[in-house]
């Protein structure tokens, strides 16, 4: 778990959430570029997970073990599910789902920081 990377994840997720919110307000469905954005966030989450695994193999690892790994794994599932729904739901509501998903990912990353013992 690296603090700067966590900050990057949270910022990217919040930007994605803002983008999705804009689309929801404009009554538009999720577009492919937003899914590329979600892929970038997902990649950052994966890097963070790999870093966390490497760090806990060498050092003390997270303070709250169970909770941290729970968040680490669960946060990876959120965006792919929202992305899949973007194909099924071609209305503004897919944008609201992406908004919810991105906010959830940002919140989970913040909780991962807490349970790792950084903030």
């Amino acid at each position: 778990m690296i603090l700067p990377l966590a900050v990057v994840v949270v910022i990217l997720a919040v930007v994605l959430a803002g983008w999705a919110a804009l689309w929801a307000i404009r009554d538009k469905a999720v577009v492919l570029n937003q899914l590329w954005g979600a892929t970038v966030v997902e990649a950052a989450l994966l890097v963070q997970l790999v870093v966390a695994i490497a760090a806990s193999a060498r050092g003390p690892g997270p303070v709250e073990h169970g909770t941290f790994w729970g968040y680490a794994v669960a946060s990876l599932l959120i965006l792919p599910l929202a992305g899949a729904w973007a194909f099924a739901e071609r209305t503004r509501w897919s944008s609201v789902v992406l908004l919810v998903a991105a906010v959830t990912v940002a919140f989970m990353q913040w909780r991962m920081l807490q349970t790792w013992g950084i903030s």
């Binding site: 689309w23 009554d27 538009k28 469905a29 999720v30 577009v31 492919l32 570029n33 937003q34 899914l35 169970g66 909770t67 729970g70 669960a74 959120i78 599910l81 929202a82 729904w85 973007a86 194909f87 739901e89 071609r90 209305t91 503004r92 509501w93 897919s94 609201v96 789902v97 919810v100 998903a101 959830t104």
Partner: protein
């Protein structure tokens, strides 16, 4: 409303067609029972899914590791987890039986969040460990308080209309 996802980017996103059903309108499933999982319902299912996941993980962890510390709070956590999982699947599935399950789950959830919320404010010593419903779901941005209300409103809005069932 069935515009496929664009390959060109944001500029090409199609505006909602004027002839489609209004966003938020229920979509028939073919059996006279409106779908509860499309349109705004999809957002409900998504948020319920997140809470089902969170509550299940939290309750499982609490009960497995420290049930004796606060049995009441942790068993309430488990109850909330069951309710969220039931609501998620029932809303996602739709249909008559699922609607009844969803009604029950949302009602139990509303009663639960109001009861636990009130008790945790009046006698905090009985709720030393936080649950999803403590202080009306304060720890989760009061979403647990709003969610059952939205769920019940959505079920009301998508309730089957008898005339539609009998019409040819």
């Amino acid at each position: 409303m069935t515009e496929p996802i664009g390959t060109h980017g944001s500029r090409d996103s199609a505006p909602a067609p004027a002839d489609g059903p209004a966003a938020g309108a229920s979509v028939p499933t073919g059996h006279g029972v409106p779908s509860t999982s499309s349109g705004p319902g999809r957002v409900l299912v998504a948020v319920y899914g997140v809470f089902a996941l969170a509550a299940t993980a939290r309750a499982g962890f609490q009960i497995a590791t420290k049930l004796s510390e606060a049995p009441l709070a942790y068993l309430l956590s488990a109850l909330s987890a069951v309710v969220y999982v039931a609501a998620t699947f029932a809303l996602a599935r739709g249909g008559r039986l699922a609607r009844r399950v969803a009604w029950t789950a949302c009602s139990v959830e509303l009663v639960g969040v109001l009861a636990v919320g009130t008790l945790s404010v009046l006698s905090p010593q009985d709720f030393p460990q936080a649950t999803v419903w403590s202080v009306f779901g304060q720890g989760y941005g009061y979403v647990p308080l709003v969610l059952p209300v939205l769920g019940l409103l959505w079920l009301r809005r998508t309730r089957p209309v008898p005339e539609q069932v009998t019409s040819p």
